[in-house]
């Protein structure tokens, strides 16, 4: 069924597969969007409210970032879609001339607002501002995302927690497909914004299969894999990711939503995912945590008080070229500038990780990269079981 892939010109996205790992399912692509050609695998930093933790777009450009995220729930509240239209879209408003992706707002509504209620019509919730009852329908979500103007937009999906199973999960999967059709119909700017459907189905393999089968019947430019960043068992997580990538067509990008820990990124690239996002790298910077190949450094910890090395001596970011850990230790405890400074490094770390994977795919040395990554991250060889199993499923066997 999915072989009825559409002509590339009908979507605001085209994917060019440039190299494939001969062992695993990893691949390196060029994803062409209205505002950028994005190299995949890609990590997309999250700029929730039209800004990324005190960084200016120039800093992201200088680091080679080509695409970032905005959150529809937040942007829909403030500054609001009307203002964003007047500003000429979020790109203009925040002075970011490269690609943007927005989520549907549904996930945030369900996770941030306790009183959200989901009906066939949409997500009903109380306005956090005046307590009035509001309704986010698939049509409204797309309307707002059309105003924001991101290169990639997401369908509204029926999000259930990963611990939910049974009839509610099944209902959510079917509703997600019905809502997809409503989103496709409501989408006013298909030639400028590419709409992604979302594979749902929780941890139920049968439901995920059904969902994926339905989605690939629709004419869309790429696919997201949702519902897998909610703290489920990792042994189930990777199986659901693999099952989804197995069913999705090769010729379109696969976006694994809300996943961005380094280990998860490496495993899921091996499983065939192309795009990732996560607030963790930028959120953790705020608490003084810097990401490195051995894990993370909590710069607030006294052990760094007299450590005069940069966060990572091999990192080329402006933070590592400028500051030593001991000084960042003094700043992390007191000054807001520390958050910007550490965020720069953490974003650079994520981008470097992705570009190293990409490079290794081009050289067809991805399995070697994975081995080195795991050796650095787990020097004692105590690799988590799930990573061993997940990687073995795509023929990478860690030593």
């Amino acid at each position: 069924m999915w072989k009825m892939a559409t002509s590339k010109n009908s979507h605001a996205l085209s994917l060019n597969i440039l190299a494939k790992c001969s062992t695993s399912k990893a691949r390196a692509c060029a994803m062409t969007l209205p505002h950028a050609v994005v190299d995949t695998p890609v990590f997309m930093p999250v700029g929730t409210q039209g800004t990324l933790k005190g960084l200016v777009p120039d800093q992201l450009r200088e680091m080679g970032c080509k695409i970032m995220l905005g959150n529809t729930y937040h942007l829909g509240n403030r500054p609001g879609p009307e203002l964003l239209e007047k500003a000429g879209g979020l790109h203009n408003f925040m002075k970011w001339d490269r690609a943007l992706l927005t989520d549907s707002g549904g996930f945030q509504m369900v996770s941030l607002l306790k009183l959200a209620e989901i009906t066939e019509e949409g997500v009903k919730f109380q306005s956090p501002h005046d307590g009035s009852e509001m309704l986010l329908t698939p049509e409204r979500s797309i309307e707002i995302q059309n105003s924001i103007g991101a290169d990639i937009i997401m369908q509204l999906d029926d999000v259930v927690h990963s611990s939910v199973s049974g009839p509610r999960l099944e209902e959510a999967m079917h509703r997600t497909i019905r809502w997809l059709d409503r989103c496709i119909k409501a989408h006013r700017r298909p030639s400028e914004q590419c709409l992604f459907p979302i594979v749902q189905g929780g941890l139920n393999a049968e439901l995920r299969k059904q969902c994926a089968h339905e989605l690939v019947k629709r004419d869309v430019g790429g696919y997201a894999i949702g519902g897998l960043s909610g703290g489920e068992e990792k042994s189930e997580f990777w199986r659901m990711v693999k099952l989804s990538t197995d069913l999705l067509p090769d010729c379109k990008p696969r976006y694994l939503m809300g996943v961005g820990f380094a280990v998860d990124l490496v495993v899921c690239v091996a499983l065939g995912c192309d795009m990732f996002d996560c607030v963790f790298p930028t959120r953790t910077a705020r608490f003084g945590c810097a990401l490195v190949k051995t894990g993370q450094l909590n710069l607030k910890s006294k052990i760094f008080a007299k450590d005069f090395r940069p966060i990572d001596s091999e990192c080329q970011c402006s933070t590592c070229k400028t500051y030593n850990r001991a000084y960042l230790h003094t700043l992390a405890n007191s000054e807001p500038a520390a958050c910007n400074i550490i965020t720069v490094h953490n974003v650079a770390y994520q981008l470097n990780l992705m570009s190293s994977m990409r490079q290794s795919i081009f050289e067809d040395k991805f399995p070697e990269f994975v081995q080195q990554f795991f050796t650095d991250m787990f020097p004692d060889g105590d690799y988590p079981d799930w990573t061993l199993q997940a990687l073995a499923s795509v023929n990478i066997h860690l030593r």
């Binding site: 409210q49 039209g50 800004t51 933790k53 005190g54 960084l55 200016v56 120039d58 800093q59 937040h74 403030r78 500054p79 203002l83 007047k86 500003a87 408003f93 925040m94 002075k95 008080a305 007299k306 005069f308 402006s318 933070t319 400028t322 500051y323 030593n324 001991a326 000084y327 003094t330 700043l331 405890n333 007191s334 000054e335 807001p336 500038a337 958050c339 910007n340 400074i341 720069v344």
Partner: protein, 420 residues
């Protein structure tokens, strides 16, 4: 007391190019740093820092600001706790903080903050960091300076006095500060590391002419390279000192008792107009805590400091017209105000700063409303840019004998603002 250091050293020099009848000076500080290769033009401001970093700005972002002052002021409150680390680091505070300003000036207190009074005694003074009070005596103070290796350092002083202090308190403040200075001079003379650093003596005395005179005379008699005048308020209390009845008189009196061949520094939070007033009395070096304080409140400087060429008509009318559309005091606007929510103009039309050339009032308004860090990054860049630029214009106006014109122009802008 030795008159000169045992170690030969390059001495900071202050050369006056022009003196106003009121006492203000256009001058040059030469050999301003430890290497003796930096020359500064006065009147000038220093770079205000927090914890040794420009507030809200990484070095990478600070590079996007034009005319960053050569002198970075680093107060001991946030840094004193880390002196052992800096000592072990071994290359001083500038390299430790990675700042590129050629002159590092260590002071006691954060100029933007109030000082909790009553914590000083004969044995030492208290400074305030994130971890709370740090009590310094002169030996710890000098140990810290040796590890920080500043180009200028403020002598330890007991300056938490203000207009309400009686004579007894003021006498004590002057005495203690002089006692500290003697101990510091003695220790400095024995210190090879600090032989190249300039010692800034501190003038106290509150609002008492007698004590100011005594403090000045006694400090002048000691080997200091410049003067810091404090003791008018207990840190930043958001008070316009010029509105206090005797302030102008006492400051002027104090400055008259200082020699003309050394720079005078004040760390007070001052708007451009207040800077002009203090400059006219003879203050040379100012803090840039003022733009930082505006930034923290979401305010952006919008006044115009550039005098038109003499051949052109004054541009005041235009400025007045602008001001009428804005709820402003004529000097700054409050970007929290919802009137800016759909304003896609730059913070200040014509401003060449990084924030104004890239972002709109509407965007910064949104960032303030959503409490995003970038609001403060952009406001810091704009407000610093404007304040630094003001000092350029101040010097230009002096060189062309148009200081009064600049002062009038600024006060007209202030008066043209609607509500405060």
């Amino acid at each position: 007391m030795l008159a000169t250091s045992f170690f030969g050293s390059i001495k900071m020099k202050f050369i006056i190019e022009k003196t106003l009848a009121t006492g203000g000076r256009l001058g040059i500080i030469s050999q301003a740093n430890r290497q003796g290769n930096v020359t500064l033009e006065t009147p000038m401001c220093t770079l205000f820092t927090k914890g040794g970093s420009a507030p809200h700005l990484s070095i990478d972002m600070l590079r996007r600001v034009a005319h960053v002052p050569e002198v970075a002021v680093m107060s001991l409150g946030a840094l004193a706790d880390h002196h052992e680390t800096v000592a072990e680091f071994g290359k001083g505070l500038r390299e430790f903080t990675a700042m590129s300003n050629p002159v590092i000036f260590t002071t006691l207190h954060d100029a933007s903050a109030a000082i909790s009074p009553g914590k000083n005694d004969n044995s030492g003074v208290a400074v305030w960091g994130k971890g709370g009070k740090i009590k310094l005596d002169t030996s710890l103070f000098m140990k810290i300076q040796e590890s920080f290796c500043p180009d200028w350092f403020q002598a330890m002083s007991d300056g938490d006095t203000d207009v309400s202090c009686g004579n007894k308190r003021l006498v004590k403040s002057v005495d203690r500060t002089l006692d500290f200075l003697d101990e510091i001079v003695e220790a400095k003379n024995k210190s090879e590391v600090l032989s190249k650093s300039s010692l800034i003596g501190v003038i106290e005395g509150g609002f008492s002419e007698t004590q100011r005179k005594r403090s000045a005379a006694e400090t002048v008699a000691r080997p200091v390279d410049g003067f810091l005048i404090e003791g008018f308020e207990k840190g930043n209390r958001d008070v316009d000192l010029f509105s206090l009845p005797d302030f102008t008189k006492i400051l002027s009196f104090t400055l008259e008792h200082l020699p003309t061949d050394k720079p005078r520094i004040m760390e007070t939070v001052w708007s451009p107009l207040q800077v002009i007033k203090a400059f006219k009395l003879g203050v040379d070096v100012f803090s840039s805590a003022y733009p930082h304080i505006l930034t923290e409140k979401g305010l952006a400087l919008v006044s115009d400091y550039s005098l038109p060429p003499l051949s052109q008509p004054a541009k005041l009318e235009l400025q007045t017209a602008n001001a009428k559309n804005e709820e402003t005091n004529g000097l700054y606007i409050d970007l929290h105000n919802s009137r800016y929510s759909e304003d896609f103009g730059s913070i200040l039309p014509g401003c060449s700063c990084y924030a104004c050339t890239n972002f709109t009032r509407a965007y910064i308004h949104h960032l303030l409303k959503t409490k995003e860090l970038l609001a403060f990054v952009l406001l810091t860049i704009h407000n610093f840019h404007q304040y630094f630029e003001f000092f350029q214009h101040l010097r230009l106006s002096l060189k062309s004998d148009r200081l009064n014109e600049l002062e009038d122009y600024l006060s007209q802008q202030l008066n043209s603002g609607l509500d405060r």
